[in-house]
Amino acid sequence: MSNKIPVLFSIGWNACINCGACVAICPQEAGFISPFDTIAVDRPCDIACLLCEDICPVSTITHQQISLSGQGTEITTPGTPS
């Protein structure tokens, strides 16, 4: 399930309905949230299970992989299966 490469999530704020389902499914510890009741988008997620993307009723969560070498980021296409 986890691909172990940390990811940085991005949310389409125009589509987001603030339903909180992404936070509900998130296995992170307390506090991995944004001020808009979504999962955090300002720091990498090292679990990278991507369940938040699966549960989102409007499919508006995407991610970039953060390369392990720290040499910038590799951008994945939205909807790419993990």
Partner: protein, 391 residues
């Protein structure tokens, strides 16, 4: 930093939190109820259906302030549109109906108004309510109580309390503060989306549409919403479909046996959320802390209904905590277990049974057979002579 003292701090002013606070304050506790939102009930994540019994059993008066629509029964539909009609006006006319000496079976409530109504009830019972106040963390000091840190607007405040009540919903942070096992599996969390629509006729019945084609892992619904509006929504289990809930609502509206009925629908509101079709949390307490409502997964695993279960659990929690604190008992996990035991006797056992029933249905691999089972179970569940004790 300011410091305040209370018996209870309740985080989250939804139906569970407000009801817990109300019953605790009624029994003499000093209660602080905080919610980070500026407006309760919003953003709406719920269809708003609750039985009349669910309200009256916890002393909530039936009030036009929060009611969108009285409900008199159900229409359960299978994938092809075959229906079982369960209209309590016909089944139990001595009780249910529109006449003066009859009552509705239930209501669709306006969650903004309903949540505010329950908060106001708590406030009038002596609860202090702080909106725009987010919980930041808590620290147990054992028998002495706990310290709860909150942020009210931009001010950080520490509160000394005996017990912290986490009523902060399915996305509960309070449970995570205590390191509780709150994680829900992806195949037990329904991804839900609903539209409030104009130009769709709906009788005063809750319509429940089963069938893998329309709502894999869940069901679709059409509820009357008052003022001639209706609510069209559904919940799906993400592992059972390649599409999101939004796609499924669109598919249901355009392609199902209701497509002519929905042809002129105009969307007035878009709402959604996660609904647990899961077992309640195995442990709903820790030192100086309990969880109630969605935070403890007090949701009916068959219907996804969480209003009645939230206010009922709130009554149990508030009453229990008042007894505990008024008797000077240390609010440690070993004592707070009593809350869960009482809840288990009142509703928990039944919720676990319903979870087993639901799990058996969705374990069936053969889709037509699973469809048949779900339709039969839903039809049975809402019948007056149902073997399932309603929760």
């Amino acid at each position: 930093m300011t410091t305040k003292q209370y018996d209870l701090v309740v985080v989250g002013s939804g139906p569970a939190g407000s009801t817990t606070a109300y019953f605790a304050a009624q029994a003499g506790l000093r209660v602080l109820l905080v919610d980070k939102r500026q407006e309760l009930g919003a953003p709406i994540q719920c269809s708003g259906a609750i039985s009349r019994h669910g309200l009256t059993s916890v002393g909530i008066e039936i009030d036009a302030e929060y009611i969108h629509q009285p409900i008199y029964g159900f229409r359960i539909l299978n994938e092809e549109g075959l229906e079982k009609r369960i209209d309590y006006r016909q089944l139990k006319p001595t009780e249910y109906g529109e006449a003066e000496d009859q009552v509705p079976l239930g209501y669709v409530v306006d969650r903004r108004r309903f949540d505010r109504y329950l908060m106001r009830r708590a406030e009038r019972a002596g609860v202090d309510v702080w909106l725009k106040t987010e919980g930041l963390g808590y620290e147990s000091r054992g028998a002495a109580g706990c310290t709860v840190k909150v942020k009210r607007f931009d001010e950080e405040i520490e509160i000394q309390a005996k017990v912290l009540v986490g009523a902060d919903g399915l996305q509960s942070q309070v449970g995570r503060w205590a390191g509780m096992q709150t994680h829900i599996r992806i195949n037990e969390l329904a991804s839900c989306l609903q539209f409030i629509v104009d130009r769709v006729e709906a009788e005063p019945l809750l319509e429940i549409v089963t069938g893998h084609e329309w709502a894999p892992g869940g069901y679709a619904w059409v509820f009357p919403k008052g003022e001639g509006y209706a609510e069209i929504g559904l919940g799906v289990i993400p592992t059972m479909t390649d599409h999101d809930a939004r796609w499924h609502v669109d598919h249901f509206m355009r392609s199902s046996f209701f497509k002519e009925r929905f042809a002129d629908a105009r969307i007035l509101e878009v709402q959604g959320g996660g609904v647990p079709l899961a077992a309640p949390l195995r442990q709903q307490y820790a030192d100086n802390l309990i969880l109630v409502g969605d935070a403890a997964r007090h949701v009916n695993p068959i219907t996804g209904g969480g209003l009645h279960t939230a206010v009922s659990a709130g009554e149990i929690a508030g009453t229990f905590l008042a007894e505990l604190i008024n008797n000077g008992v240390s609010p440690l996990a070993s004592e707070l277990k009593g809350y869960q035991d009482r809840w288990y006797e009142a509703m928990g056992r039944q919720m676990w049974r319903l979870y087993e029933t639901k799990s058996e249905i969705f374990r069936i691999k053969d889709i037509p057979e699973r469809n048949r089972q779900l339709y039969a179970t839903m039809s049975e569940y809402f019948s007056p002579d149902s073997q399932y004790k309603k929760i």
